[in-house]
Subunit: 194 residues, 2 copies
């Protein structure tokens, strides 16, 4: 069992059969030692893939992706949601629906920050329906770059995003896959009920 | 001249007399080596202050604050803008107006993630009118914690935020202070025109 799985079992707060909160260590308060362990784990898994760019999206992915980028020693780019006044240039854009926020936003990356031929590792904190991941893949494809891998900290294995990505041949590596949340118990894939 | 100042002079794109873009290295694409140097510089300056928590706000501050927190070996918390469905608990909230986005949002931090007596270092990428910083100070005050320092990567010295904070006794440390942007030249405080 890795440190992320242990942390999820020890500290995740179960809201209902579909939702857990991990905001004490991952996406509101951040346990920085854990974030660096996450960076190491992704580097161990993807290090042979000649990755030259890490891509994530606002906001929770940023703190993880910057540490992953440190281990790979490559630049990180985060997609911006919606457009600020300072982001008028030529953009790659993809529409993304968030179930958590029940709203559609656009992901935007300036064209100059993803290049044709780039070997990209996509990083995010959560994977459920893979809406955000598909938005980032769309942008990488628009740039004629390659999605070499997708690194997810926590995958909700009972939602369809992970299967959708694996069926299409993406090298998806989730550090913790939750197969179910029932009767206040979190069941991890390849682990017995705790 | 530190690495941030050098990077601003070398790579910032001047839009007009008030706006520069640093999105090639700081707040869209991130130069991770620079971000770690920033973490070191803030640690060098504030290391004697018994800081036990780093606070920033979505989104650009997150990637910097997580690295700063690494050097201090303390948890980092980022204020969330507006409320997602998963953030219903008891919150400290502060209203913040963004000049860049021309809109008001609320900063929210769960009460459990800032404690009475905490010694907080506030981190952000930019300081202009200090609206975001004041929102974070407001939250720290609501929690009866102390703002021990404020670390800013780039301060626009020709806008009033920095003076406002220094006049009130805050230990504000900006790694790069821009005094003016005129005739396509960036003038840094304590540096001659380049």
């Amino acid at each position: 069992m890795n440190l992320v799985e242990q942390k999820v079992l020890d500290e995740a707060v179960i809201v209902d059969d579909h939702i857990i909160l991990v905001d004490s260590f991952l996406n509101h308060q951040m346990d920085v030692e854990l974030i660096f362990e996450i960076g190491k784990l992704f580097h161990d898994y993807f290090k042979e893939h000649q990755i030259n760019r890490i891509i994530t999206c606002e906001a929770s992915g940023i703190g993880i992706a910057v540490v992953v980028a440190h281990y790979f020693n490559v630049p990180m780019v985060f997609a911006k949601k919606n457009k600020s006044l300072n982001l008028k240039d030529d953009l790659y854009t993809s529409k993304v629906f968030s179930y958590t926020k029940q709203s559609t936003s656009s992901f935007n990356i300036k064209k100059e920050f993803v290049n044709e031929g780039d070997r990209v590792l996509i990083i995010d904190d959560f994977l459920a329906n893979a809406e955000a991941t598909r938005g980032l893949i769309d942008i990488v494809n628009q740039a004629k770059a390659s999605v070499v891998g997708i690194g997810i900290v926590i995958e909700k294995g009972f939602q369809p995003g992970g299967q959708w990505l694996r069926d299409r041949g993406y090298d998806l590596h989730s550090l913790c896959i939750i197969d179910s949340i029932k009767n206040s118990q979190i069941k991890l894939r390849n682990e017995s009920v705790i």
